[in-house]
């Protein structure tokens, strides 16, 4: 593990979009993926360019922003959508909805604010944005999916809609606001902090190339909406099996410490989405008594590392929210947020600034308080992947996950605010 960490920390080891997009094996689709969905995003920068970009973007997920994200964006939207969607029981007397749909809408609101999109408050706007977000995320990672031609075609159409309906109006709105700032008609502090503010002010010189700035924004649909949705849905999914085998833990289903450990287990077992992390050596790099030669590709299988019995115990391949913390100092989620230079930008949104539970834990708590269960009448569906690239197991990426709420009372629904204060 030490060798992997030192390798991924090395400035000699770079992250190239061409490798992630598998250009060598599919030049046509690979070139589309690189040009339209990958090149220009922070995760493919190196050295000082990466550090200055990351340092700049870190401002958007500082502690005060995390409170706003959790308490003013995500949790109120969870409450609002639950009340809206569960106002009436269905024909079977059940209160149900699609958990993927719910989570995507919640995290889309958050991501829209993070990017700085405007006019996204209506249901219609979120519907339109959601119709773009899924295809954009799929376009980002189509190298790992079945029917790449079709995925890329749909993703390109979605990107065009996104740029016309969302990106350009937001850019123009921010340009107007910053023009007002420059004329002394508006205080800079009144312009909402967002990726778009950085883009319009060219806080990073690379944003002068608008195509690359657009890619930075579309990457967030995979990196923020997709991963957040999957982490919540998969925790609900994995907890059902755990409660079946461990009924004594049902009493802990709204305990934030228990849910945080459950979420960490989900991230350990089911993140990241890609089966392995790609890197390229930009210079000879010594690893112990071996050398990774300049130009050599590296595939780091986080999935293997996160199932190491030596680190996580004999049942490392199983979901166990009661698992003791690893004795080697690794966190419970293992390397699920990444290792070395490139690590998940939204980690503190998920875990909280102090690691005691962020938005996702409170969201899970609200869902659990309402008695969320998989809907036995309708099985979940997941994205069809190119399984030849997945070495251990098919980690599902749910596209629909119908649930029912067995403790939902529309006259007295649970409130995220109450769970936050409890």
């Amino acid at each position: 593990m030490d060798e992997v960490v030192s390798t991924l920390r090395s400035p000699d080891i770079e992250h190239h979009p061409e490798q992630f997009a598998a250009v060598a094996t599919d030049p046509v689709n690979g070139a589309i993926n690189v040009r339209e969905f990958l090149d220009g995003a922070m995760i493919y920068l190196h050295g000082s360019e990466h550090r200055s970009r990351r340092k700049m973007l870190n401002q958007l997920v500082r502690a005060d922003s995390l409170s706003y994200i959790r308490e003013d964006l995500i949790l109120p939207e969870v409450d609002r959508l639950l009340r809206l969607r569960l106002a009436q029981p269905d024909d079977d007397g059940q209160y149900g909805l699609d958990l993927v749909d719910l989570c995507e809408r919640v995290f889309l609101r958050f991501t829209a604010k993070l990017i700085g999109l405007v006019n996204v408050d209506s249901e219609e706007a979120i519907d339109a944005l959601r119709s773009c977000a899924g295809p954009l995320a799929a376009g980002t990672s189509s190298a790992f999916l079945e029917d790449r031609d079709l995925i890329n075609k749909i993703a390109l159409e979605a990107k065009q809609r996104y740029v016309e309906q969302f990106y350009l109006p937001a850019r123009d709105a921010y340009r107007t606001m910053m023009d007002e700032v420059s004329r002394g008609e508006r205080d800079d502090a009144d312009v909402p902090p967002s990726l778009m503010k950085f883009i319009v002010t060219q806080a990073d010189p690379d944003y002068a190339d608008e195509d690359r700035a657009i890619v930075e924004s579309t990457m967030l649909f995979a990196a923020s909406v997709g991963t957040s949705t999957q982490s919540v849905v998969q925790t609900v999914d994995l907890l059902q099996g755990w409660f079946k085998d461990h009924p004594e833990d049902v009493a802990s289903k709204t305990d934030p410490a228990f849910l945080l450990d459950a979420l960490a287990e989900t991230i350990r077992l089911r993140a990241p989405f890609s089966p392995y992390v790609c890197r390229v050596a930009a210079a000879d790099h010594a690893v112990g008594d071996r050398v990774i030669e300049d130009g050599q590709e590296i595939h780091v299988h986080y999935v293997f590392a996160n199932r190491s019995p030596e680190v996580f115990g004999e049942d490392a391949g199983a979901f166990n929210p009661r698992r003791p913390s690893p004795s080697n100092g690794l966190p419970r989620y293992g390397v699920g947020f990444g290792v070395g230079i490139h690590q998940c930008y939204g980690m503190r949104v998920v875990l909280g600034n102090e690691g005691k539970g962020g938005s996702h834990v409170h969201m899970l708590r609200t869902l659990m308080a309402a008695g969320v269960k998989p809907d036995a009448r309708t099985p979940p569906t997941d994205l069809k992947k190119d399984l030849s690239k997945f070495s251990i197991e098919n980690i599902p990426r749910y596209t629909a996950y119908p649930v029912v709420f067995t403790e939902w009372d529309p006259a007295s629904p649970p409130s995220s605010r109450e769970t936050l204060d409890a």
Partner: protein
């Protein structure tokens, strides 16, 4: 514990960070200049009140106590006693 002169106070702007090296030890006055999370120079980060934000992954450390104030780091940084004598700053290593 050796005491070393590291800088003039006037060389450090209010609210700024300063990297110095003493006997091969990198300091970001007056904590170790190394994020305990991923070995990144904290002196390249942002000073936010009493906290320094790592420029790479955003870990936060209290520059007085060395305590972790924000993920992803979970190990405090070393702190060093700083003395001022006139315009000169000294650190006890």
């Amino acid at each position: 514990m050796p005491r070393s002169r590291v800088a003039n106070a006037a060389d450090i702007p209010p609210g700024g960070l300063r990297r110095v090296e003493v006997d091969g030890q990198a300091l970001c006055l007056a904590i170790e200049d190394r994020c305990t999370h991923e070995d990144v120079e904290l002196s390249d980060g942002e000073l936010l009140g009493d906290e320094v934000e790592c420029p790479m992954h955003g870990s936060l450390f209290n520059v007085i106590t060395g305590d972790v104030c924000g993920l992803p780091a979970d190990i405090p940084v070393k702190v060093f006693k700083v003395d001022r004598d006139g315009d000169e700053l000294f650190v006890d290593l």
